[in-house]
């Protein structure tokens, strides 16, 4: 547990990361307490007061159906950030399992799995995500699945290289000489050592995943109306850029700030846990 304590303390000290941590805290709070904070329900349409400018009634104005943009951005946090987290954690879990399994067992299984990761990596990420969500049908769940699959090879390769180096290392070999079961070795040695690089990779990937979900939404393959998702909101909103500049701008800012905060914290965590490239 001191790992966590140490990281929090050091993050706070570095002003750069500190502000990002605060932003993230706000984002999470907004996500959780969206219903309380929101001034309107994100779904109810009011055709007569559509495309209103930001004002006292609607802080960020209204969209083409008269829905309150401020509330939709709040609720959008749950979809965009929540789904990104789920997708990445899923990808990390599955990827680590397969990767460490193949790295630890080795021989031909490892070769086959590694070739598959090569093939998956040969695909440009967005195209793969695009094809998958088109194949599975456009919905937020499928978008999350698509992203999980797209990010899988990264974790598989990460876990495999770690598992390989750990399983070759002395203390694991010596443990084996004592006739210790490989399951125990994996649990006691392989997994804990995997934790650090995986955690670093996860913090870096979340920002990217939010962008991917928003881009899929933008291309019409992510979240479907009427769900409030940032990418989809911009996708409709940007047609109104000229007359109602606020509609796409506030949503864009929400994505930008959240992803930036994740990346800064990601950098901070990586510099902290991965001494070589750190301070």
């Amino acid at each position: 547990m001191n790992l966590l304590l140490r990281s929090i303390r050091s993050l706070i000290k570095n002003r750069f990361a500190a502000s990002a941590v605060i932003v993230l805290a706000i984002v999470f709070l907004v996500g959780v307490f969206a219903p309380l904070l929101a001034t309107y329900s994100p779904a109810d349409t009011a055709p007569k007061d559509r495309l209103l400018a930001p004002g006292s009634l609607h802080y960020f104005g209204t969209d083409e159906l008269g829905r309150d943009i401020f509330s939709r951005i709040l609720y959008g946090t749950r979809v965009s950030v929540g789904i990104a987290l789920v997708a990445i954690l899923l990808s990390a879990l599955v990827g680590t399992f397969i990767g460490s399994f193949s790295g630890f067992i080795g021989r031909w299984i490892d070769q086959v799995i590694m070739r598959i990761t090569d093939v998956l990596l040969a695909f440009p990420t967005l195209v793969l995500a695009l094809a998958l969500s088109a194949a599975l049908g456009a919905s937020i769940v499928n978008a999350a699945l698509a992203i999980a699959v797209v990010k899988l090879p990264i974790y598989m390769r990460l876990a495999r290289t770690q598992a390989l180096s750990i399983s070759q290392s002395l203390y694991v070999k010596s443990a084996k000489t004592f006739g210790v079961s490989s399951g125990w070795v994996v649990r006691k040695h392989v997994v804990p050592n995997l934790l650090t690089p995986i955690v670093v990779q996860i913090t870096l990937d979340i920002g990217d995943a939010i962008l991917l979900i928003a881009t899929l939404g933008f291309l019409g393959l992510g979240a479907q109306p009427p769900t409030a998702e940032w990418g989809a909101m911009i996708s409709t909103g940007w047609n109104y850029l000229i007359d109602q500049w606020w509609y796409p701008t506030f949503t864009g800012a929400a994505i930008f700030i959240t992803v930036m905060a994740f990346n800064i914290v990601g950098d901070g965590v990586r510099d902290l846990l991965d001494p070589k490239s750190g301070e």
């Binding site: 695909f123 195209v127 094809a131 881009t215 911009i234 000229i242 994505i255 490239s277 301070e279």
Partner: protein, 334 residues
């Protein structure tokens, strides 16, 4: 050296086979029948059937895949369902367009990224370091479709500095294709006005796309520079009184480039599939737009052709990166 090339070619065959198999599966699992999408507003049953026969859509999947494979071997990528044009001709048209965009984006990213990475490493934790890192993180975090849009608003609508769509002004004659790069073809044909115009059209999309890559490069160069500066040989150089500038470039950067080249190569490779978002916003007729429309229009031959070319280009880029590293890093020349 030769061992490296042989190994890469073996991988190429495997990746090609894997990629074509996965795409074939995926594209045929896509719901929706291309014939229905294509046969006009109110087609009769016979017309639908005629289209399906023409594209062999009714044959069992394994048969379709085998036909596809032997076509592939003979270099025939089939005809696109949407545009009735051979897929190969379309790819030969769209691939250089995307390549031109990515190349300019990377020129911008490298020209700016490497110096910034070096400065922020040399001046670690100074004010400049924080500003550069903030600028870099911004690049990785900005949603491209939003950033590009704001750029159009400011630099096209308000200031009118740069055009916002297409590769060349309509009035100018498009250069006849030699390399497929408008900037190069116009120079070959000596049409300077068209050359400057094509550069002007490249500015905004290249900067929008380049800014994201710039962020990767700055972060990578900074971390490998920090690594190089902390090495013993750097201290030896300092102890021997070599000038700071010489040390930074020949001792620091020279060694930091090797890991950075691989990362830059990989991100160049990942863009071969076309920068879908940038191309959509700036009407850049590249691979990104082509594949998006093909996927949405269930154009199987086009999707398959696209993926094969991309896999091919991806492996070639990896080979080039390895060769570059081979020339830069003496240790690989055992």
């Amino acid at each position: 050296m030769l061992r490296l090339v042989r190994q890469r070619l073996a991988m190429l065959v495997l990746v090609l086979f894997g990629v074509s198999f996965i795409t074939f599966l995926m594209s045929h699992v896509l719901p929706g029948d291309p014939a229905a999408a294509l046969a006009g507003p109110h087609p009769s049953k016979e017309v639908l059937q005629a289209i399906r026969d023409q594209f062999g859509l009714d044959k069992p999947l394994p048969v379709q895949y085998l036909n596809y494979l032997n076509d592939l071997i003979h270099g025939n990528l089939g005809t696109s369902i949407r545009s009735q044009e051979p897929v190969l001709t379309e790819l030969m048209r769209y691939f250089p367009t995307t390549l031109e965009l990515i190349t300019f984006a990377f020129i911008f990213a490298i020209l700016l990224g490497i110096p910034l990475g070096v400065i922020s490493a040399v001046k670690k934790n100074s004010f400049t370091d924080y500003v550069v890192r903030l600028f870099a993180v911004g690049g990785v975090s900005i949603p491209l479709f939003w950033g590009g849009l704001v750029m159009i608003l400011v630099f096209y609508a308000k200031l009118g500095w740069f055009p916002a769509s297409g590769r060349l002004d309509i009035e100018l004659t498009t250069p006849e294709t030699v390399t497929g790069f408008y900037t190069v073809d116009t120079l070959i044909s000596g049409d300077t006005e068209a050359f400057f115009n094509s550069v002007k059209h490249l500015v905004m999309p290249a900067v929008a796309l380049g800014y994201v890559q710039l962020a990767f490069i700055v972060r990578q160069v900074r971390s490998s520079m920090l690594d190089a500066l902390s090495q013993d040989y750097y201290l030896t150089g300092r102890a021997n009184g070599l000038s700071k500038r010489f040390l930074i470039i020949r001792y620091g950067l020279r060694n930091a480039l090797i890991p950075s080249i691989t990362i830059i190569g990989l991100s160049f490779g990942s863009l071969l599939g076309g920068a879908v978002v940038t191309e959509t916003i700036f009407d850049w007729p590249g691979m990104g737009k082509y594949v998006t429309e093909s996927i949405l229009g269930r154009d199987f031959p086009a999707i398959m052709g696209f993926t094969v070319i991309i896999a091919l280009a991806y492996v070639i880029i990896n080979l080039l990166v390895d060769l570059l590293v081979y020339s830069l890093d003496p240790q690989t020349r055992k």
